[in-house]
């Protein structure tokens, strides 16, 4: 198309994404669940597919082994070893959510050395739908409390009460001072537990961007505009799963 974009559908991306992720280095076992994170983020915010192209060297780390959690008196930390939230996010959020349920309904996990923050809103919403109260805070705003509230980036999700899902875009999460990116992930079974934590008093940044889900739903209904480059990226990655024809392969068709 003349403007360098094309109209694609959400199911089309959903269909291509699992194999594209697998060919990007992700475990086959994670391809389906990570595919939804990829498609939702692309539809709601954009930049997810280009992240695949830009993160060739950081994707696939879980093939080399899982993540280790370190428990200390100060809390729990997980070193993502430079991986992307696209790949490690669901595993870390699953871990934090399980821990919250096991430990009086509240958990706090410091996720260190991670990138791909554009996938944070999807993760928050995904777990909020399961009933989790989720807050993700930049490390500098955590222990001890940050003085510069404006640098705080909060992603909240809630499906309870009258509050609708509220998400902030995490696109500016990268550290200006080039410290290894990290954030605190809090998960709780009810909001009171979050309000009673050391972050009490900080301004909640709810309802900053409630349109992300609406944008995704609109994309499901009407499709989305994708750059030809991004479409080529995901198409080519998807096609890599196909096996070259060889003598006799035609007779193996079914």
């Amino acid at each position: 198309m003349s403007d360098g974009t094309m109209h694609v559908s959400v199911p089309e991306l959903r269909r291509m994404a699992p194999d594209a992720l697998r060919m990007s280095g992700l475990l086959r076992s994670q391809a389906d669940e990570c595919a939804e994170a990829l498609v939702w983020t692309e539809a709601a915010f954009g930049g997810a597919i280009s992240h695949l192209a830009d993160s060739k060297n950081s994707l696939g780390l879980l093939k080399k082994g899982g993540l280790k959690c370190l428990r200390s008196p100060n809390g729990i930390s997980v070193d993502a070893r430079g991986g992307s939230l696209l790949e490690v996010g669901i595993r870390v959020f699953d871990f934090a959510w399980a821990t919250a349920r096991a430990e009086n309904g509240h958990s706090r996990v410091l996720l260190k050395n991670v990138n791909g923050f554009r996938f944070l809103p999807y993760l928050v919403l995904h777990y909020a739908k399961q009933g989790a109260m989720v807050v993700a805070r930049k490390r500098d705003a955590g222990f001890p409390l940050a003085t510069n509230v404006r640098s705080l980036l909060t992603v909240t999700g809630s499906c309870t009460g009258s509050r609708s899902s509220a998400l902030t875009v995490a696109r500016d999460f990268d550290d200006e001072d080039h410290r290894p990116p990290a954030f605190f992930l809090e998960m709780a079974t009810n909001e009171a537990q979050l309000q009673g934590d050391p972050f009490r008093g900080l301004e909640r940044m709810d309802d900053i961007d409630i349109s992300a889900s609406a944008r995704f739903e609109d994309a499901v209904r009407n499709g989305l505009s994708l750059s030809e480059q991004d479409f080529a990226t995901i198409s080519e990655l998807n096609a890599r799963v196909r096996v070259e024809a060889f003598d006799g392969s035609h007779t193996q068709a079914g």
Binding site: R91, R101, V220, G223, R240, V243, E244, G254
Partner: protein, 583 residues
């Protein structure tokens, strides 16, 4: 093969959405998963009134859908175009057909093919004709890389029946009409479906946005409606072709048209679908087994009309089997004999008494005397004889299909172990170290993504194999879980062992959904993909299904279904009654 404690695996969990009566008799009447989810059960599965094609026909007739030919321009070679208007439940649709010059030899209709005899576009509303021309042009130039927009529901392709299309045109041109026996012998169709590509493909509208009120909002109805339209188009195109050759050419009679369906041949990709979507498999199978249990627990006396219907259904299947030459007629006739023996003996007939569950007694008697094929025929006959149960089950299927495969990270490891030991004991028993157990692998070819099955230790591409290995991932998960403390939560386990996340989600889903797994090793040397294909096509509603190889199954859809003019005007020909006219 892994060691696991002996556990009772016979209990079928209650589906969270498909409610069944809370009685021990009903629970006992539900068939066990090992009986229903085996390759032999899939091989012998029959279409029922729960099948998606039949529920579509039911909806079309109940709501008097209008399918009308708006324009037709076909030359003596059968080349040209046609447009249909569809009015359904307050929604408008258009279907455009482009008919090409036939190929010199019969086209196979595979996705890897580079040409098709027919191309169709199904669009919403009063679509502008230029959309159809645009999409046809896109397909001609770019095939499956062509693009459209979301006013279009889908593209579909089809091919002529090499045996019948030209034969029927010639007969009509000569002023005669084809003989029913010839049509049956030739496959029972003029056009053979080669695929429907919608739900987002090429930029088409996402099916999920249609909603349940949309006439095509029920699962698979959009896909199958295009098959119904191909059947309509096949009649109009052969008649128009004959008229182009001879002004006074005959037309097909309604009886001949009803005897024809639309052909279909499906390969192993459909079998893989059964594994990819366990919720879908569970939804349909649970609905089917629930209706069967409803029949089996129906208290006596059984009304004579119901008994008559069951016998008629069996007879119909007998004739269908004879037409497919499967050599199974004897099994069906034995089921008929068992029933007839009981009915004739009114003094002792279980059906005439008010005691117990008459059909259950007959089922047990029949099960001891007929093979698996006969049992599945009886099951289908019973299901089709209780429309009130079918109607309820049909409504439940969509919601049950939508249950997601998600991970519950809060579950302790010992719970996962217990689920595997109870719900996957069949998988633990498979010796995956046996040479034959991993002999095959499934993959997608560079030939347009066509699904294929290679030899693991011989062919290239193993590193890209498609997922079909349920026993393998479950055994690996089981072994890993045994190495961690039982109280470890799934979330922590998967943080350290992310390679098991797929297996965990399947196992947790199987914990709440009955009939969600096919209890076979798809990689085994002896597994026949055609069994899975047959099972899936039966869900869709195929008739006269016959495996042509170990990887392909052919058959026909909508044979005996109402004609477009019978959908309206009060001619409420139920699909089953129309089919019986053919018997």
């Amino acid at each position: 093969m892994l060691d696991s404690p002996h556990v009772d695996t016979g209990t079928v969990p209650t589906h969270p959405l498909i409610r069944t009566p809370d009685s021990s008799a009903f629970t006992a009447a539900m068939r066990k998963e090992q009986d229903v989810m085996s390759a032999s059960a899939l091989r012998e599965s029959r279409s029922t009134n729960l099948s998606f094609a039949r529920s579509l026909v039911h909806r079309m007739t109940e709501n008097s859908w209008r399918v009308e030919l708006q324009a037709l321009d076909i030359d003596s070679h059968g080349q040209g175009s046609a447009v249909y208007n569809i009015e359904a439940e307050g929604f408008s649709l258009k279907f455009a057909v482009f008919s090409h010059m036939p190929a010199d030899s019969e086209r196979q209709g595979r996705i890897a093919d580079t040409g098709f005899d027919f191309f169709g576009v199904l669009a919403e509303g009063d679509a502008d004709p230029h959309i159809f021309a645009r999409d046809h042009d896109e397909f001609q130039k770019h095939m499956w890389k062509g693009r459209t927009d979301n006013t279009v529901l889908g593209w579909t392709v089809a091919n002529r029946s090499h045996r019948l299309f030209e034969h029927v045109v010639e007969k009509l041109t000569e002023g005669g009409e084809p003989h029913l026996d010839v049509l049956t012998e030739g496959g029972g169709y003029l056009i053979r479906n080669a695929g429907y590509y919608g739900n987002g493909r090429q930029g088409t509208r996402a099916w999920e946005t249609l909603g349940p009120e949309n006439p095509l909002g029920y699962p698979y109805h959009c896909d199958l409606f295009t098959l119904f339209l191909w059947r309509c188009a096949s009649f109009d195109i052969v008649e128009a072709t004959a008229r182009a050759r001879a002004e006074h050419a005959c037309q097909l009679t309604a009886a001949v048209k009803r005897s024809l369906g639309v052909g279909n041949s499906s390969g192993i990709g459909t079998a893989a679908t059964l594994l990819k979507w366990p919720s879908w498999l569970s939804a349909y199978t649970t609905a089917r087994e629930t209706v069967l249990a409803y029949a089996l627990t129906k208290p006596g006396p059984i009304p004579a009309a119901v008994v008559h219907n069951v016998l008629a259904e069996l007879h119909e299947q007998d004739v269908e089997d004879a037409s497919t030459r499967r050599g199974q007629e004897q099994a069906v006739m034995t089921v008929c004999s068992v029933l007839e023996d009981i009915i004739k003996n009114e003094q002792t007939s279980a059906l005439a008494t008010a005691d117990g569950s008459p059909w259950k007694k007959i089922w047990n008697t029949a099960a001891a005397r007929v093979n698996r094929h006969g049992q599945e025929c009886l099951a289908a006959a019973l299901i089709n004889s209780y429309p009130e149960a079918v109607e309820v089950a049909v409504r439940m299927i969509p919601r049950a299909m939508a249950i997601p495969r998600a991970t519950d990270p809060r579950m302790p490891a010992h719970d996962l172990v217990e689920i595997i030991e109870t719900r996957y004991s069949w998988a633990l028993k498979i010796d995956l170290t046996a040479p034959s157990s991993r002999e095959r692998f499934w993959y997608r070819s560079e030939d347009n993504g066509e699904n294929r099955r290679g030899f693991r230790f011989q062919d290239p591409g193993v590193e890209k194999e498609s997922f079909v290995d349920v026993p393998g991932i479950v055994q690996a998960l089981y072994t890993a879980l045994k190495s961690v403390p039982g109280e470890v939560l799934t979330g922590e386990f998967l943080l350290q062992h992310p390679e098991h996340s797929l297996a965990v989600s399947r196992v947790q889903l199987a914990n709440i959904l009955p009939y969600s797994e096919i209890q076979e090793n798809f990689l085994d040397r002896d597994f026949l993909p055609s069994d899975g294909v047959k099972g899936f096509l039966s869900m869709l509603g195929i008739e006269r299904a016959v495996p042509t190889t170990s990887q392909w199954v052919r058959g026909v859809f909508f044979r005996g279904a109402p004609l477009p003019e019978e959908l309206t005007g009060g001619v409420r020909v139920a699909a089953k009654n129309a089919r019986r006219e053919l018997v």
